[in-house]
Symmetry: none
Subunit: 400 residues, 2 copies
Amino acid sequence: MQEEILKEVTVKTPSKIVLLVIDGVGGIPVEGRTELEAAHRPNLDRLASEGICGLTDPVYPGITPGSGPGHLALFGYDPLRYEIGRGVLEALGIGMELAPGEVVARANFATLDQEGLVLDRRAGRIPTERNEELCRRLQREIQEVEGVRVEIRPGREHRFVVKFSGEGLDDRIADTDPQKEGLPPRPPSALAPEAERTAKAVEAFLQRAHQVLNGEEPANGVLMRGFSRLPDIPSMEELFKLTPACIASYPMYRGLAKLVGMEVLEVGETIAEEFAALKRHFQDFDFFYLHVKKTDSFGEDGNFSAKVQVIEEVDRHIPQLLELEPEVIVVTADHSTPSALKGHSWHPNPFLLRSPYERRDDVDRFTEAACARGALGRFRAVEAMTMMLAAALKMKKFGA
Amino acid sequence: MQEEILKEVTVKTPSKIVLLVIDGVGGIPVEGRTELEAAHRPNLDRLASEGICGLTDPVYPGITPGSGPGHLALFGYDPLRYEIGRGVLEALGIGMELAPGEVVARANFATLDQEGLVLDRRAGRIPTERNEELCRRLQREIQEVEGVRVEIRPGREHRFVVKFSGEGLDDRIADTDPQKEGLPPRPPSALAPEAERTAKAVEAFLQRAHQVLNGEEPANGVLMRGFSRLPDIPSMEELFKLTPACIASYPMYRGLAKLVGMEVLEVGETIAEEFAALKRHFQDFDFFYLHVKKTDSFGEDGNFSAKVQVIEEVDRHIPQLLELEPEVIVVTADHSTPSALKGHSWHPNPFLLRSPYERRDDVDRFTEAACARGALGRFRAVEAMTMMLAAALKMKKFGA
């Protein structure tokens, strides 16, 4: 959908939309039932029977999305058009602040042999505490290279993030990770003339880092990849005239929400705290993105029954959501995470939309199979935003 | 769908297609039933049970279309690609002829105060008769400005249309309507260098018009907006090899049909007269667009039962349509107009297609909910044209 048209047809109104994302909720059957089918979910079923249902393809049929594209689509942004670089996503994932123009990359601690060839790309997956210690040391020794500021932040095990700040930086830099043991690290070559200066700064950083880590064992090397910058993305306010808020406890989702201009609310770790934050801030915003993480985490672990329990926990909180009486409630996911597959998958997401201005269908259960028979049919997740806006009466007529 | 491909695969055959558009027929439930569900519609149900059904999004999910985009899509033109300007649509709506290159704008009679500020953008909604009188006077006094011919035609109340004809005109002219009272009218500025000459002509027209209206009360001013030209749009003959006819009693729909090269048939005001015209001309064309207006009008009025009665009236004429034995019958709408919302809406349109060469599904009622379970699923209205052509065996194989 063209941005000019969206800006033209959307209107600011007091009506409220709650988008509840149960991360990775969809599954495939294990002994005949998916996690949703196995869960006791009277309140989600009530929403389904009062609303209209369907299935969404997060990006494109058959495509398994990462969290970035899966969420961008739900926020109304075509994930094939707006790509979020790996470095940026990693930075968001550890809660690092990013400003336009800054270049960021994922980095690994690695083991190099005496000839400088890569012996182990992950330095034996050193413990996170060791990683934190080494990052502190690197940051102490390296604050600037070639007039470019450097910020270093540890992740888990061998992973960390490096951010470069300064004038005229460019992210078109080749990965230095050779992806195979037995090869030397590659140079951080500029992939466009405009990136020459950045490439020199990265090269200087790597030289200094290798000096600092000299003699260190096993983490005596650094490999970098996924150089990227914040994408140039219009805000939800600009496109949809929304005043949106994010209720999510994990940094990556908070970072994704910030990317599209949501206000990120302070919230604790639990689902109960997330619903409490929704109630507390309900008067202050007109769009709420509430993210439940643990369905995805337990799906990734292959833990069917723990995923079922999280669904049941969400279900118990639905009456609190109904008490707030938002005009539009949507319950869906950014992608499926079947515990049978122990990872994200391409399977379409169950989707329900409840609004006094929307039709109903005869779906009375919130499961994959029931939603597949819903009146919304199967559609692209990116189309959900205009449907939510319409059902909240936040859209004018297009054309005369 | 690319035009080159369409031109390549369509073939001329004697088979006939009837596209029956029941304007705004879809609704949302009022006391549990939509207008279609409440109507007695044995013949529409028969068509549904003999055909294959689905739901269409006129433009894009959640987008509420005006009549222009809604119809263009049904005629096989992507409404996000072919936009019809406001001035053009207003001109079509009052039955004004338009030639390529002519520039047309909507105009209001307005009230200006002594300093020339807008006191009332609509001149107190003067009666249509007064409007007609003032338009006659303006036309008598102003036939040409700066070598550009001027044609003035009254609409309803304070609204009229001004058409500029001549060489090298351009529609990139800013609105002069300031959209707010208390401000002066804006100048008709050129928004591109190529529009300078047109801007001068419009300015001269406005000066002359204000001289003519001087001392008039309350309509002593003119505000203009929506400068536009006929879009550059290939004909249905060119794209689809059809010889199409339009059966519609309202000027706007007749104008839209002419825009895509349909022959507009003379027809009376009633549904009976429309079906009689179809019978009379059935041998002369291979595609018929038959438009029923009053479902939309009563939907806009919020008159549920009157809308139901129009549906029943259409239903009673279906046997006449069947007697003609067209190969393809499609019944659908350009958009929904739920009487509960008193206006156009985004809700998908029920759609049925009946052809001896098409599959059937088990839908046996022509309602929104029944069509939602149809074998065609939910699709974009622009895709209906190639489906109709295919079901009339008017399409060759694409690729070897």
